[in-house]
Subunit: 153 residues, 2 copies
């Protein structure tokens, strides 16, 4: 376990894995605080993620939403209640199945949705501006591989 006896490749792996770890830590830290999304006001991370998952669809079921966010129905139930009280989403009864509820964004919700998407896109743009076309392509490949690997974990 002596660092001086390590092969270069092992040291590279050690460094690389640490850098990746640091990136995720940085991300985690960001995800701890509420942010303001345009006129929609400050929203907690899970609130805005839920809004993003609902997207501009005409209506999505609670259970679909749960699957999309990879959380339980109970979690979605709670967060939708909160979003409804903030008038960001609305519930409409399903026309055929009276157990089901269709969730959709209100106008205020759409404002938050767009502000959030824009934020993300500006972030990505700022990153890709620092890369050339080849590098972007490789970056995309890496993102995809990373996502795959994380899914397996």
């Amino acid at each position: 376990m002596n660092r001086k006896n390590m092969e270069p490749s092992n040291r590279n792996i050690e460094m690389g894995s640490r850098h990746l770890g640091r990136l995720f830590m940085q991300f985690k830290q960001l995800e701890r605080h509420p942010r303001v999304f345009g006129e929609a006001g400050p929203l907690t991370p899970s609130e805005i993620h839920t809004i993003d998952a609902i997207s501009c669809e005409s209506g999505i079921l609670m259970s679909e939403l749960a699957a999309r966010l990879s959380v339980t129905k109970g979690a979605v139930s709670q967060i939708v209640k909160k979003l409804e009280s903030k008038q960001l989403v609305q519930r409409t009864p399903h026309p055929e199945d009276s157990r089901a509820v269709m969730i959709s964004l209100t106008e205020k919700g759409i404002i938050a949705f767009q502000a959030h998407r824009e934020l993300h896109q500006n972030f990505y743009k700022e990153l890709s501006d620092q890369l050339n076309q080849d590098e972007i392509q490789i970056f995309e490949k890496c993102i995809q591989k990373l996502t795959e690997l994380l899914k397996k974990e």
Copy 2:
């Protein structure tokens, strides 16, 4: 806001930012569940991150640890208490400053630490095995830029 009217570059940004978002979601999901680290047993994400931050140092102050983890002293105080009760870390009084406490890993803590590092390194190795030398280098560059950008957010 019509997708068909978008320039290719805008569409690429939209796609890219979505992929990046998905990656972080995948990561967040992983970070929700406890994992087993060798003989040290199952540890929650924040427990193992704290152990990783303590590392194999001979002794680190609570306040240093808080800074390293980017959390408040109170948060560290709580988690160290839990780790101490699990016999993964130990407190020793500071030789000169009797207010201060030195935190270090026990043998069991070191086992967890090493198992965690190994896990991360295996993950990184699996990723880099799918890339050639140039791609790894670009990937590293991107990780670094991403970390910088996130820090600014």
